[in-house]
């Protein structure tokens, strides 16, 4: 049986993992401003001429600023993974420490009825698509389950399986088929 390589769908933007996923941003060594995706040369702060940036992992949790879903299959280069297409949710998430908002798909199976502004979410890794060579991974946001919503743990003892989270810990959604 062939085991395909599992790799990030884009290199250097995030660290994928079954237990721990983190977005990789940058922090200007001169003024301290954060960027995602990471800057490699100039600093976006107009009053800073810094060109050196420290690579940093961004906060792995944030709160939903706004959200929506895609009910129609996006055009290429989006790669559909199901036929027929299944809608998926997208959230813009505010990171408190970095004071920026980052987009991500919500973990598969999330219905927008399950979401509200201000809701706490956490990064997970899922498959974006597979081709002949590899399984391409992407970051997604996953609602933080109330039972484990202690803001402290960076080192969680139990591995987070997004699929288990979705089916096990979230209230059943009255939801629409496929969303």
């Amino acid at each position: 049986m062939d085991i395909k390589t599992r790799q990030a769908a884009i290199e250097g933007w995030f660290i994928p993992g079954d237990d721990r996923t983190a977005l990789v941003g940058s922090r200007c060594r001169e003024c301290g401003t954060y960027s995602f995706p990471k800057e490699t040369f100039f600093c976006k702060n107009p009053s800073c001429t810094g060109t050196e940036h420290e690579q940093v992992e961004l906060s792995r949790r944030g709160r939903i600023w706004s959200f929506t879903n895609n009910c129609y299959q996006p055009p290429a280069p989006y790669v559909a993974t199901t036929d027929p297409f299944e809608p998926f949710a997208v959230a813009a998430v505010e990171l408190a420490e970095e004071r920026l908002v980052v987009l991500g798909q919500m973990v598969s199976g999330t219905s927008i009825e399950d979401l509200h502004a201000g809701m706490e979410v956490e990064l997970v890794t899922e498959t974006l698509f597979e081709d002949d060579e590899a399984v391409h991974l992407i970051w997604k946001w996953c609602p933080v389950c109330p039972a484990i919503s202690d803001p402290a743990p960076m080192q969680q003892s139990s591995p987070e399986d997004p699929t288990a989270n979705q089916s096990g810990d979230l209230p059943a959604s009255p939801g629409r088929a496929g969303s």
């Binding site: 769908a9 884009i10 003024c31 301290g32 401003t33 954060y34 960027s35 995602f36 995706p37 976006k44 702060n45 107009p46 009053s47 600023w65 706004s66 959200f67 929506t68 879903n69 895609n70 009910c71 129609y72 996006p74 055009p75 290429a76 280069p77 989006y78 790669v79 998926f88 997208v90 813009a92 420490e97 970095e98 004071r99 920026l100 908002v101 980052v102 987009l103 991500g104 798909q105 927008i112 509200h116 502004a117 974006l128 992407i138």
Partner: protein, 394 residues
């Protein structure tokens, strides 16, 4: 004196005609020249608004239209500023005129569009955020529009019915507009019954993509005096960028700027676009009689009411419900029918907005006239930080 005159305006009707964009541009240019009572031989300078979906001729629109009208050695320029390209082309022409390099200029934008969602330019381009957002997030344009719409619901209690009412208003406005693509009354029920594209937005909340062309003949006030008694004048053209940090997520970005070290600016980007135009014209929102705003989605039109200062933040839904933005109301918005009735023909659209205001201010907007309109404003925002707002007055 920083004003220029609008001598003539013209459009090729919007639709899905499937012909070469150059044809629409030339038709619009000839209509604008006729409207001005001038010939092609009178034009010193051509400013073309580029289309990036029609190959090389689209990237050099100024030259393409000049050649199509017949080479005659005029000065030329082409510019791209995404949805704001048309206003940026107007600004190019204005700068040439005010600098004294030319007396009279032609501004042209036209597009032929593919069906369906706007997709990024083809090929594998993993360095391009516009390509990446489709690949990594499946984030279409409506994804971003829907994030803003949802925000209005959360912050101000907007409802899906409010969004639908924008479409109903604009459909009514555009009924008699001969250049509009969709001329059909729409009810709130029609909008609500159309399929959801990106919740809370439905198909009829989101503008289509269209073919179309728009053109203007503009000149110095001095030149205009010799040709017409009382031309409509352009008093301001705002082409500003955002100020760092931009804290609202914008197409095609994955993230906003960070406000961790630099506090957010006094005005967010959309507020700043109109503010720069008002400042340049020396007027305020209270002086405006009519507005053409970029209703890529119904909900976005409501955002623009507030960004332009037509009402306070959070009051756009009330302004709409009270009928104040309908023709006959206090401040009619999108009397042309807006993008709701036109669909978007990117490089032509911001020019078309100014064409409409010109007809409104001349009292020639048959079937959709805002009575007594003397001052009008357009507003629009192009991908990658291109503001655009034009103020015209009689």
């Amino acid at each position: 004196m920083t004003e220029i005159a609008v001598l003539g305006v013209g459009m090729h009707p919007w639709g899905k005609w499937g012909r070469n964009f150059v044809e629409y541009g030339v038709a619009a240019a000839r209509a604008a020249l006729d409207d001005a009572g001038l010939g092609w031989a009178d034009i010193d300078y051509v400013a073309g608004a580029d289309t990036i979906r029609n190959g090389y001729p689209g990237f050099i629109a100024g030259a393409t239209f000049s050649q199509a009208l017949g080479w005659r050695g005029n000065r030329v320029a082409s510019c791209y500023a995404a949805c704001a390209s048309g206003a940026h082309a107007i600004n190019l022409a204005r700068a040439q005129i005010l600098a004294g390099f030319c007396d009279v200029a032609l501004v042209v934008g036209a597009d032929t569009t593919p069906k369906g969602f706007f997709a990024p330019v083809g090929g594998d381009r993993p360095e391009d955020p516009d390509w990446l957002r489709f690949r990594l997030l499946g984030a279409t344009n409506p994804t971003y529009f829907a994030l803003y719409a949802r925000r209005r619901m959360d912050l101000y209690g907007a409802t899906r019915e409010d969004f639908a009412r924008v479409k109903v208003k604009n459909a009514l406005h555009g009924l008699a507009n001969p250049n509009a693509r969709y001329r059909k009354e729409v009810t709130v029920q029609d909008v609500m019954a159309s399929p959801t594209v990106a919740d809370p937005l439905r198909l009829l909340d989101i503008c289509a993509t269209s073919d179309g062309g728009a053109a203007m003949v503009v000149s110095s006030l001095e030149y205009a005096k010799r040709h017409t008694a009382d031309p409509v004048r352009i008093s301001a053209v705002s082409t500003v960028t955002p100020t760092y940090p931009q804290t609202v997520i914008e197409m095609p970005n994955f993230a906003t700027d960070s406000a961790a070290t630099v506090p957010p600016p006094e005005r967010g980007f959309r507020d700043a676009i109109g503010f720069a135009a008002y400042h340049e014209a020396g007027i305020g929102p209270e002086d405006v009689d009519v507005a053409e705003v970029y209703d890529l989605s119904t909900a976005l039109e409501l955002d623009w009411y507030e960004n332009l200062g037509l009402c306070k933040e959070g009051e756009a839904e009330r302004l709409l419900r009270d009928g104040e933005t309908s023709i006959g109301g206090r401040i009619p918005v999108n009397p042309s029918g807006g993008l709701a009735c036109f669909g978007e023909a990117i490089p032509a659209q911001a020019i078309a907005q100014v064409c409409e205001l010109t007809w409104q201010l001349r009292g020639q907007a048959s079937g959709r006239q805002v009575e007594g309109a003397k001052v009008g404003i357009t507003v629009n925002q192009g991908l990658f930080g291109h503001g655009s707002s034009v103020i015209v007055r009689t």
